[in-house]
């Protein structure tokens, strides 16, 4: 037995009831680590004067914000399912022309940060924008406002539906068509078979995508704030920026309470997967293709219009900014450097690897050893995902600085060995893990579920240790899920802004911090090149995600 095997074996050792103690401890530790920034919020809230705290909660505007936030989450999630599920079906199960192209194209919006999407939509469809200018000669005096609830829903949906698309697609790919046929042979109606077999198998995929959409919507601040919609994140951000740190902490706590409710709802729906038969993989599903016939053209139109809105509009606007770049801005300094792209890619890769590593134990435990505890750990990883980046960033500032000052100056033989954490890459990567771990957990968990237990059992019967069985049987089978999850983390890390701004090492500029710094002063032209580089680099990783699936 190699050392690695022995280590893994420790974690897979089972107690008398067959429960893996080591694995449980390990995923418990991971869950505790990602929950730790919550402590900061609690400390902050405890500092708030009780009367003042109550007066904040009772403010009528808070109720309004709550209603708007929940409405937005519902609208975006619903619309994302409405777009993502049909697209997944079209690209997996039908004879849609250029399927491979559409598969990549409709997943690509995920590479565009939603705030960048919002900018370009305002630029294109806002008052005084390209569309308004184009329609003005035709006598159209005003177009419906892009601002507010509608615009926020539109932009967030367009840039988050790919979550549903990707997870649903993965479910469809591993879908066992024989089951439907079996059900039909047993005399159930087509509808019954759909409901009891198809939906049952697809639902976990759809809900895990929908959960990511819902939590993203709840935590995104860029889009609502650009679209001028008062939701929790925007108000929290304003509070932080106007130095109401205690109020912001209270609101964050409320936001996390909503997260808990959403997680509870999702785990209810996710329950339907419990005990569902899990097929042996993709092999049996893909040969039954639905012929679109007359629907071919509308289907193509659907795909094309989504791609136009999500990709063509922003890229066109960015290109326009690039060409219109004011001459005066060029000499103000701060040119784009390829190093920013290298920084973005390396830190995103590190986050992806770290998330994948942390996700495997949590996901494996949750998928293989269902218990209250394993489910709790699994759910806990989602909390950080709903935490606005700015809240998380400042929480880690507190921890980073406090840690340093409490450790004090350590020296050995006169050499300073004080460990530093604050504003270092490890802390930044830790922040990314907190934010994006669920993306890796979700993808890994569903791939573990798809692995036929009897395969590992067979390996055990042939005398393999649990560790060997895991490494030689399970790991290769779940690898696509793990890599897919890691690639998702890579993508979202590339786009992450608020936590990066707070926690990056000084001088470590990334594509998004650069975009932020030039855009903030109104020089949109400078933002175009890094934004296009960001889209291209992330686009390449999207191809990796999709090719891993098949």
């Amino acid at each position: 037995m190699s050392v690695a095997d022995r280590v893994v074996a420790q974690f897979d050792r089972e107690d008398a009831d067959g429960y893996p103690v080591g694995l449980t401890l390990l995923s418990g530790a991971i869950a505790a680590a990602v929950l730790s920034p919550l402590a900061w919020i609690v400390i902050r809230v405890l500092q708030v004067d009780t009367d003042y705290a109550l007066s904040i909660i009772a403010r009528p505007t808070i109720v309004e914000i709550l209603v708007t936030s929940l409405g937005l989450v519902a609208a975006v999630t619903g619309a994302s399912i409405g777009i993502g599920v049909p697209l997944a079906f079209l690209t997996v199960r039908t004879d849609l022309p250029f399927r491979r192209f559409w598969t990549v194209a409709v997943a690509l919006p995920l590479v565009i940060p939603s705030y960048l999407g919002a900018f370009t939509f305002i630029s294109a469809f806002g008052p005084g924008g390209v569309l308004a200018d184009a329609l003005a000669p035709l006598g159209v005096e005003s177009i419906p406002s892009i601002y507010g609830f509608f615009g926020t829903t539109l932009v967030l949906t367009l840039y988050t539906y790919p979550y549903v698309f990707i997870t649903t697609r993965a479910s469809l790919l591993s879908f066992d068509q024989q089951l439907v046929e079996a059900a039909r042979t047993l005399g159930t109606t087509r509808w019954e078979a759909f409901k009891r077999v198809t939906l049952r198998q697809l639902l976990p995929g759809i809900t895990s995508g929908a959960l990511l959409v819902a939590l993203y919507t709840l935590s995104d601040f860029g889009t609502p704030s650009l679209m001028r919609l008062d939701v929790f994140t925007r108000v929290i951000f304003v509070e932080y920026n106007t130095f109401g740190r205690e109020t912001a902490a209270m609101l964050s706590l409320q936001l996390l309470a909503i997260t808990a409710v959403i997680l509870a709802i999702e785990s209810r729906i996710g329950d339907s997967s419990r005990g569902a038969y899990v097929g042996t993989g993709a092999s049996s599903g893909s040969d039954t293709t639905v012929s679109l016939g007359l629907w071919k053209l509308p289907a193509l139109g659907f795909c094309a219009s989504i791609v136009t809105l999500c990709l063509v509009v922003p890229v066109a606007v960015l290109t326009n900014w690039l060409l219109r770049s004011p001459s005066g801005a060029t000499r103000m300094g701060g040119g784009f450097e390829w190093q920013f792209a290298v920084n973005s890619v390396s830190v995103s890769l590190a986050a992806a690897v770290a998330c994948a590593a942390a996700a495997v134990p949590v996901a494996y435990l949750a998928a293989r050893h269902r218990s209250r505890l394993s489910e709790l750990f699994d759910r806990a990883t989602y909390v950080g995902y709903a935490m606005p980046g700015i809240v998380l960033g400042l929480a880690l500032v507190f921890f980073g600085v406090y840690y340093e000052s409490s450790v004090g100056d350590l020296s050995v033989f006169g050499a300073d060995i004080t460990p530093t954490l604050y504003q270092t890459l490890p802390l930044l990567i830790f922040a990314y893990v907190i934010r994006f771990l669920p993306q890796a957990v979700g993808s890994t968990r569903s791939s573990v579920r798809r692995v036929d237990r009897s395969l590992t059992e067979a390996a055990r019967m042939l005398g393999r240790t649990p560790a060997e069985a895991f490494r030689r049987v399970t790991l290769p089978l779940i690898a696509p899920g793990v890599i897919g999850g890691a690639a998702l983390v890579f993508l979202t890390t590339m786009k992450e802004l608020p936590a990066t701004l707070v926690l990056h090492p000084t001088g470590f500029e990334t594509l998004v911090t650069y975009i932020w710094s030039v855009r903030e002063s109104g020089y949109y032209g400078f933002a175009a090149v890094p934004a296009l580089v960001l889209i291209v680099v992330s686009g390449l990783s999207m191809v990796v995600i999709l090719s891993q699936e098949e």
Binding site: I122, G333, V397, S517, E520
Partner: protein, 410 residues
């Protein structure tokens, strides 16, 4: 993509080294008198000041342009940059102490890289000096610094932000050290209301207007007139999400009271004011004639004017009210920094004639050294008539946002 004007780094280095002898001398005498002064008291003992150069900095004086440190290279070029002065009063970088060591600077905003560019330029001037620049929104840096100082120690030596509100909030939270007199003495009191921070460049609220629609004398010198005069019905544009606009409303709220600010906002909405994303767009629309006039920081019109020199665009300023607010960027030194002396010397470089000229002729902001005129035909900062107002109070932004939301502007 960096501009050619800034690529002169190599030449600069050569010229600098020939002047190094003189700098070395200054440095030596500075060291001796500095040590003597260290024994003296710096006024604010509990801040634990480590500043060590008291009394060794030469007085401000008048320089002919060619006595300065390659002023032509610090100066920008372009249609608006002719007729720069032949002499200036203040301190030349040549007479300031050499910079040696490493500083961490939190930069809030920074005018599209311009501030960063200046700091890099100063770094290139000194062989043994490094600046580590950390960029974020001003208010976010302010929050972070307060959090860091509360928890023990901020990695920042200096906070330099584009708005007075953010530097104000850091000093009010007892996170800064008092600046020595020689550093702040040349900057008008308005731009250093306390000795905890000092203004670096000014940005004036202004009324860009289309000269085909109005002559300068027709623009009211009272901001409140815009909200009731029918001549401005469906004629104006603003950018209410922009920080400088919100600072202006904050000033109005604090000077005139909340109800008058509310009336003004409502009045402007009744006038059918057009809403835009930023003030550069407002200035552009005024230049193209889509708007007759607007509200914006003065330099946006300069930027438009630079690109379209024939545009019928001019600037007017109101008098002694919030509409004529001059906000400023400001710098301060963070408490407990081990590099206080270097930090003071560095901020002094930002206030040197060369650096002020650099920012003035490239970003069109108002220099705060009185001897340096603004670019083009802008009135000097003395000719402007800003309201009597403590700029630190601009940090009181939250009620403003509340108000703007209530009246439906945000």
């Amino acid at each position: 993509m960096t501009g050619n004007a800034d690529d002169a780094g190599g030449d600069e280095h050569r010229t600098v080294s020939t002047r190094r002898g003189r700098r070395g001398f200054l440095k030596l005498t500075g060291g001796v008198t500095g040590a003597a002064a260290l024994a003296g008291c710096l006024g604010n003992d509990d801040e634990g000041s480590t500043y060590s150069r008291e009394g060794s900095i030469p007085d401000a004086k008048t320089y002919a342009a060619d006595e300065l440190f390659n002023i032509e290279e610090w100066r920008g070029s372009g249609p608006l940059i002719d007729d720069r002065p032949t002499e200036y009063e203040g301190r030349s970088m040549l007479d300031l102490p050499d910079l040696r060591g490493e500083l961490t600077i939190y930069l809030g905003g920074g005018e599209g890289g311009l501030y960063e560019n200046l700091m890099r330029r100063i770094q290139h001037t000194y062989r043994d000096f490094t600046v580590d620049i950390r960029k974020a929104p001003s208010s976010q840096h302010a929050n972070t610094i307060v959090e860091e100082v509360n928890a023990g120690q901020s990695p920042a030596d200096i906070f330099w932000a584009i708005d007075a509100g953010s530097v104000g909030i850091v000093s009010e939270n007892d996170a800064t050290v008092e600046l020595p007199d020689h550093l702040v003495s040349e900057i008008p009191d308005t731009y250093h209301p306390t000795d905890q921070w000092v203004g670096t460049m000014g940005r004036a609220r202004s009324i860009p207007f289309n000269t085909n629609e109005f002559s300068k004398s027709e623009i009211p010198n009272d901001i409140f007139t815009f909200a009731r005069d029918p001549r401005f019905d469906n004629a104006m544009g603003w950018a209410p999400t922009y920080g400088a606009f919100q600072a202006f409303v904050t000033a109005m709220r604090l000077i005139n009271g909340e109800s008058e600010a509310r009336q003004w906002l409502n009045g402007m909405q009744d006038q059918g004011v057009g809403t835009y994303d930023n003030e550069l767009v407002v200035a552009n629309r005024v230049a193209s004639g889509e708007l007759n006039a607007g509200f914006g920081n003065h330099y946006y019109s300069r930027l438009v004017y630079e690109e379209r020199p024939d545009a019928p665009l001019d600037l007017a300023f109101t008098q002694a009210d919030a509409g004529a607010l001059v906000n400023c960027s400001g710098a301060e030194i963070i408490k407990n920094t081990p590099n206080e002396t270097l930090a003071v010397d560095f901020i002094h470089h930002l206030l040197s004639i060369e650096a002020q000229e650099f920012l003035t002729t490239r970003g069109y902001e108002y220099p705060l050294l009185p001897s340096i005129p603004p670019v083009g035909d802008l009135p000097t900062i003395d000719e402007l008539n800003p309201p009597e107002f403590d700029l630190s109070r601009l940090a009181d932004l939250e009620p403003t946002l509340q108000l703007m939301r209530e009246v439906g502007v945000l």
